[in-house]
């Protein structure tokens, strides 16, 4: 196996609510090698964001709780670390970019100040050097007139530009892993493509790995080498990207791929977009068997009884299905 950077083993992140335990992440295994781009896909509420935030321990505890599992960062388990130790890993080793570029920047400081703050926090630099570093980062993420725009405030930037600033901020300490939590969801399509391209470019420049969380299959197909499909807090399929799109094995994955909007077909036949019927099961008391059973077209008796194990069906291709 190549040089493993992050290895999540059997992670269970649960939330205590008035109604009981919500098993948002219920035994997830995921690993990322150095320099690799791994996608995590699934619909809203399947636990992909919670998985991402668990890695950086950004889950509020309480109500959240690590019920079981390990998050091995270069062989070292992050779960027992306290906040001070985590702060040494954040930004310097693992950085994150959030979904909402419009609100992810502090409105009262210039963008240069905010990037410089991160730089100064992790590297012993004075303010002037840090601001210069910030301008350099802005230039790297292709913001025109970077020297001047460091002194601008977030409200003077458009959404796409702000996401570039967020990426600049996340990369300012050259992390080994960038977690991108739906980085393009709030942007329109042309900007999405630009941001994805930028992330690709940054990845090549800095040689970092990317954990890309998204619900857009198209984004995954374009950027990732490996894909993990999550459903209701569980990994249902994991495969190299070609295998996943060429030969999807789990009915949920098949459904996801079928429900990608296709401009050509929609225009020709005016056919309705295919959707997966039903809704996600409650994570409060998930059914004992396969969590997708209630919506699966191939459901059989055994699916409802036992949780199927993750089995290997091809090189690096795992699926949690009895079929």
């Amino acid at each position: 196996m190549a040089d493993t950077l992050l290895d999540i083993r059997g992670l269970k992140t649960w939330f205590k609510t008035d109604d009981g335990m919500v098993r948002a992440v219920d035994g997830v295994d995921l690993h990322i090698d150095r320099g690799e781009t791994v996608g995590v896909v699934g619909e809203s509420g399947c636990g992909k964001t919670v998985t991402a935030r668990s890695v950086l321990k950004l889950i509020d505890m309480p109500p959240g709780r690590f019920e079981a599992g390990q998050i091995l960062w270069q062989g070292r388990d992050l779960i027992p670390l306290d906040q001070d130790e985590m702060n040494k890993i954040r930004a310097r080793e693992i950085a994150i970019v959030f979904q909402e570029p419009m609100t992810s920047l502090n409105p009262v400081y210039t963008v240069g100040d905010q990037i410089a703050e991160v730089i100064a926090l992790h590297q012993r630099l004075n303010r002037k050097q840090a601001i210069e570093g910030a301008a350099e980062m802005l230039r790297l993420v292709n913001i025109p007139n970077a020297q001047r725009r460091v002194h601008d405030y977030p409200h003077q930037f458009s959404g796409g530009m702000r996401q570039r600033v967020m990426i600049a901020m996340a990369l300012s300490c050259q992390p080994k892993l960038l977690i991108a939590d739906e980085p393009t969801t709030a942007l329109d399509v042309t900007i999405q493509a630009q941001i994805l391209e930028l992330m690709q470019e940054m990845k090549e420049r800095f040689g970092m790995a990317i954990l890309l969380i998204t619900h857009a299959m198209g984004v995954v197909a374009e950027t990732c080498q490996r894909v993990t499909v999550m459903y209701a807090g569980k990994v249902v399929e994991e495969a190299p990207v070609e295998a996943l799109f060429g030969d999807p094995r789990h009915p949920y994955t098949q459904g996801l791929i079928r429900s990608i909007p296709r401009v050509d077909r929609a225009a020709e036949k005016k056919q309705r977009l295919e959707a997966i019927p039903g809704t996600v099961p409650s994570l409060l008391e998930p059914p004992p068997g396969c969590r997708f059973a209630a919506r699966c077209r191939y459901v059989s008796e055994i699916c409802v009884r036992d949780m199927p194990p993750l089995k290997e069906v091809g090189p690096g291709h795992y699926v949690r299905c009895v079929l």
Partner: protein, 319 residues
């Protein structure tokens, strides 16, 4: 094709005579502070009040240097006189010049108001931040404490504290300093609760904002999150509350002095002058009128400024 590049340049050649200057962006920085100032300037009442307050501050700062009548020069020949050229605001029952006393007293009144506001804001921000960031039992206890203080009747408590500690502080810091410190602490110390609740509410909402989470994700400690990211965004309402607190503290000091519990008679704060004048309302109304007017206009101006600030600092208001 290499030839095409000069060709396209030559098309632009005629224009080259006038140097193509990328218009330097105006040196306008749309910092939040400047933006607020721009909005504040449009608030007429607040601007007028600022001028009034500025005049009052200049008067009490420079006035005693220009109007060189001693505040305690007793002249029984001229007692209880109405306004005249010799005494523009008249005299009191000892023939002391009211204008001189008001100019001097204004310093004390405004200083008390300002310091009490600072004490109240400091304590309020500290307790509010602690409560807002810690949640759970610490939050509950601190807010319970704030509710407890809010439910105490302020005036009787003030009287009690002053009665208990006046002598001790007087011995410690001298008659003037001791009373000043005591009044500031007592007034400020009983006005922190609204600030604390305000700050806590602000923190509870701002700490969930994405930019705070982004700061956290990039390794900012809790203290840094509060000081750098949350508080600057919560400052607007605190400044407004602080402004109004100055006015309230001036009133509180006047009340205490009026009740004879504030500063001693030889320090003529506005409230104290009012207190001394109350027995002569029928024969020398001017004596009470002027300090009353001074308090009234100062407090009114500060309140209007607070209004203007609230409008200026409210980000939802787009003008």
């Amino acid at each position: 094709m290499p030839g095409s590049i000069p060709a396209s340049l030559s098309v632009e050649a005629p224009v080259a005579g006038t140097p193509v200057v990328v218009a330097p962006r105006k040196a306008q920085r749309f910092s939040p502070g400047l933006e607020a100032w721009r909005r504040f300037r449009r608030h007429r009442l607040a601007m007028a009040s600022s001028v009034v307050l500025l005049l009052i501050v200049v008067a009490i700062a420079l006035g005693p240097l220009l109007w060189r009548v001693p505040i305690n020069e007793i002249d029984f020949a001229a007692k209880l006189e109405g306004p005249s050229w010799a005494h523009p605001l008249g005299t009191d029952d000892l023939g002391q010049d009211v204008l001189a006393r008001l100019l001097y007293g204004g310093r004390v009144s405004l200083a008390v108001g300002l310091c009490a506001m600072l004490v109240a804001s400091f304590v309020g921000v500290l307790i509010g931040s602690l409560a807002g960031m810690s949640r759970g039992s610490v939050d509950a206890v601190l807010m319970w404490l704030a509710d407890f203080f809010l439910s105490l009747p302020a005036l009787p408590l003030l009287l009690l504290i002053i009665y208990l500690f006046r002598e001790a502080l007087k011995n410690l810091l001298g008659p003037e300093g001791g009373i000043f410190v005591m009044i500031v602490i007592v007034i400020g110390g009983l006005r922190w609760m609204p600030v604390a609740r305000l700050v806590r509410a602000q923190i509870l909402s701002i700490r969930e904002k994405e930019f705070v989470e982004a700061a956290r994700a990039l390794g900012a400690s809790k203290l840094r999150q509060v000081v750098r990211h949350i508080l600057p965004n919560a400052l607007g309402p605190v400044i407004v509350a602080g402004t109004i607190d100055v006015a309230a503290a001036i009133i509180a000091e006047s009340t205490l002095s009026f009740l004879g519990l504030g500063f001693p008679p030889d320090i003529p704060t506005w409230g104290r002058v009012l207190f001394d004048a109350k027995d002569y309302l029928d024969i020398a109304p001017h004596w009470a009128l002027f300090p009353g007017a001074a308090i009234f206009f100062t407090v009114l101006a500060i309140n209007f400024i607070g209004d203007g600030l609230r409008d200026a600092l409210d980000p939802r208001r787009v003008m």
